[in-house]
């Protein structure tokens, strides 16, 4: 029981941090950089990607015993393309405002390598439940990176947070928009793709710093131990 729990914990850590699709695998950069101008768009695309990721992982895991190795890639591509089309239709039907603002980036989910990557590397080798969980965690990892990038670009660029939330969540969400300050001319760099690249760079740098500190902390006691031993040998 405990080992099963541990396995799921590992999947979660892999998706959210160690093997984060946005920060470590650097997959799916095209939508990541293009739509993260506002938090709403980032969340919208993140959720859509997550839905596709879970769906494709589940389907791939379901059919993994029936698909011979030689034709697995075309089969995965078909499954993913079908799912993306479905998600696109659903967003078009039930979140029309979001559909208008995400525009061409929805079909581009097909080309997001995270999805076929997980299908190939995980779902085609693991059980249904684990694959679904992996899809969820990878999707969540991607969503979080999108959201952080979207929020910081929106704050820097237009001085608002969650503008257009009503497009994503319905009319009640209009009140979620926070106007932090009024800008006459917005900070253009943050709104344009170069700003996304720079923000992305900062996020990756931040992750590396945190990783390094964790590594230092875990290895630190070991180091002192060896040092004391070394001293002892020197004295003798």
């Amino acid at each position: 029981m405990n080992s099963v729990l541990n396995e799921y914990k590992t999947i979660a850590i892999q998706g959210l941090w160690k093997n984060n699709p946005g920060l470590v695998q650097l997959l799916g950069l095209c939508p990541l950089l293009a739509v993260t101008a506002t938090l709403t768009n980032a969340l919208g695309l993140g959720l859509a990607t997550m839905a596709v990721l879970i769906g494709s992982n589940v389907l791939v895991s379901l059919v993994k015993f029936y698909v011979p190795r030689e034709i697995r890639i075309p089969v995965f591509v078909m499954i993913i393309a079908a799912l993306v089309t479905c998600v696109q239709l659903l967003i078009n039907a039930y979140a029309y405002g979001l559909y208008l603002s995400l525009g061409i980036f929805l079909p581009l989910i097909v080309t997001n390598c995270v999805i076929i990557g997980r299908a190939e590397a995980f779902a085609s080798r693991n059980s249904l439940l684990k694959s679904a969980f992996d899809g969820f965690m990878m999707g969540l990892g991607f969503l979080l990176v999108l959201a952080v990038l979207g929020a910081s670009r929106e704050i820097l660029g237009q001085g608002t947070l969650f503008e257009g939330a009503d497009l994503l969540l319905g009319d009640w969400a209009a009140s979620l928009t926070v106007h932090l300050w009024q800008v006459d001319t917005s900070f253009l760099l943050a709104m344009l793709p170069p700003g996304a690249f720079i923000g992305m760079g900062f996020l990756i740098a931040f992750k590396n710093i945190v990783d390094k500190q964790i590594a230092d902390r875990t290895t630190a006691p070991l180091v002192t131990e060896t040092v004391t031993r070394a001293r002892i040998t020197k004295v003798s």
Binding site: V67, P68, I71, I79, N92, A93, Q158, L192
Partner: protein, 212 residues
Amino acid sequence: MKKSMIKNGLLLGVFALFCTALVAIVNQQTFEQIKLQQQLELRRVLHQIVPDELHDNELSEYCILIHDEDALGIDEPLPSYIASMQNLPVAIAIEAVAPDGYNGNIRLIIGINTAGEILGVRTLKHSETPGLGDKIDLRKSDWVLGFNNRSILDAKDRLWQVKKDGGDFDQFTGATITPRAYVKAVKNALLYFNSNKDTLLARPANCEVNYQ
């Protein structure tokens, strides 16, 4: 070898069928809703630029197609919507394109009453620079409201330019191309309406509402 090829081919076919079926089902389930959403969006915009109290017909259902590249900026038929009160035309909402925006075509819609006065202008679709050129979007700035109640005498009207060119419309800080293109597009559509008013308003509704 041959056997496995046939088997794999068949398998691929089965998957293709399955995936197509999935998309077909979802498409069928969402078709009505998507159409409804497009209708709602169209009505929402039309309702903003042609006030309800002016007309008693359902604007989005009374649509004509106009094909005139010089006036509307694109070599494609674009829909216009005629508002009428007790079967007399009172206003028109003309869709037009500003082809020379900073970043591609800007699609807009202009409400004009029969006196040639602008009731309202809205941007339908654009890809102008966020933070600079996107002030043509009412969600970002109320610049488009500056067109309200204006009219034009002839093509030489100097007021129908941005202030930088000696006209009456604000340009945006750091972006002159966008408002310049926009003002020109509205001006062309307005001039076109003024000189073709009677034929336009007399035309029978002849286009399927198909909003993309």
